[in-house]
Symmetry: C2
Subunit: 246 residues, 2 copies
């Protein structure tokens, strides 16, 4: 195994940060890493808003449902699905952009935001920083649109809080690999046994780290996915132009 | 700059591959890297189908619109938005999954697929492999569902062809950083000047690499985004359960 893969495989989310700032040249390198990541059709449908201002990070920590680490980590990167730049480019070419009306427009933007998020997290960790991805900004995407002054055809998908770690976290186990990696075709028969094994190993892990609110994966996931846990995503995405019509 | 960031920032897509196979232990490390990447709410809504069979890669190269490199690279990884595993987990917990009906369900899955894609590409390149992400499988997602025997509540978002490089490619320039990185709030005023500069630099790059079909970014993007270029995404996603209703 090489050093980069060893770093990647040590991934865990940290939520305990020191106030120490991140040097500018390190932040530059991290963001440039994502800037050079691939995008579908070279559409470059991603933007990053760097939030360092303490008041604004506090506001984002509230929007995200009371995630204190967004306020304590010195930097929050909001990663935005961005079909505004393509819109301006098409306008220049004399063509009216249509893709934002389509499910494809949302899929391509969210996927490319994900590639940027993955790249940012690895680059940040390579500099010894801790990171935690924050999807909770989708609890109230309209508040993020207002705070970040996001234009039409953009949507705040997720963010990353990053900084130097105070108390390091541990790595949570995953569902067994047999339910993640499938050879040649999807093997549905592997899923239920994997969940049964994981329900046990995850509870064991929560006990080991003395976390008292941890339940099995099935129960924990049922608490979210039995309902539309972020109901504002559809109307705010539509208001921003991502209407999922076509 | 450290070695991992140097590797990340050297990203480019390769499309010329040798037939040499990828050793099993390297492929294991690459996939395990993505397996350990974070997912929203620990939902683990991602799966990977490893396609090595030559006939099946040839079929995928056709589905993707005649992308020959999918047939020549020894491995294709299909990265799948997967709310089937959570569905089985919820069923075990006695709860009916609802999230797949929502725009959020599609956004969270596509974003986490993107994180996996970004992680896979960096891990593969750290072993000296070349990679090219393939969103073109969304031209005909139903054919991918059939070929990979994907169950309900899954959708084939994108894939990666990987292998040892024959003739290396170069790195395409990006839109200027001012239109990608925004301080504290989104700066719309930076967008049009960035596009104007990029339209010139991209054409210059295409001339340098002697590519004759290259136009400016504005014109090139207009050729796709003025229409819904993958119209089957919405109906096939809906058929798979991702209905974008809520």
């Amino acid at each position: 195994m090489n050093d980069t893969v060893r770093l990647i495989q040590a991934h865990h989310s940290d939520r305990s940060f020191k106030a120490d700032p991140i040097p500018d040249e390190i932040l530059d390198d991290i963001i440039e890493s994502a800037h050079l990541a691939p995008t579908s059709k070279n559409g470059q449908q991603v933007s990053i808003v760097v939030v360092r201002d303490a008041e604004r990070r506090k506001r984002i920590s509230e929007i995200a449902g009371g995630q204190a680490w967004v306020a304590t980590a010195p930097v929050f990167l909001a990663v935005v699905a961005d079909l505004y730049k393509t819109y301006v480019g098409l306008e220049k070419a004399g063509v009216t952009q249509q893709v934002q009306h389509s499910v494809e427009g949302l899929v391509v933007s969210a996927t490319d935001v994900g590639i940027a998020l993955g790249t940012l997290m690895i680059a940040a960790r390579s500099y010894g920083l801790g990171i935690v991805p924050i999807g909770g900004i989708r609890r109230n995407p309209e508040a993020m649109v207002e705070l970040l002054e996001l234009p039409q055809y953009t949507f705040p998908i997720a963010g990353i809080a990053m900084g130097y770690v105070d108390v390091p976290a541990t790595q949570k186990p995953r569902l067994p690999i047999e339910s993640y990696r499938h050879e040649e075709r999807y093997h549905t028969e592997n899923v239920r046994p994997a969940i049964d094994a994981y329900d046990i190993s995850l509870v064991k892990y929560f006990k080991e780290i003395a976390r008292t609110d941890g339940t099995s994966w099935s129960q924990n996931t049922a608490a979210s996915y039995g309902e539309v846990y972020f109901p504002k995503v559809k109307p705010v995405a539509a208001k921003q132009g991502f209407t999922c019509e076509d």
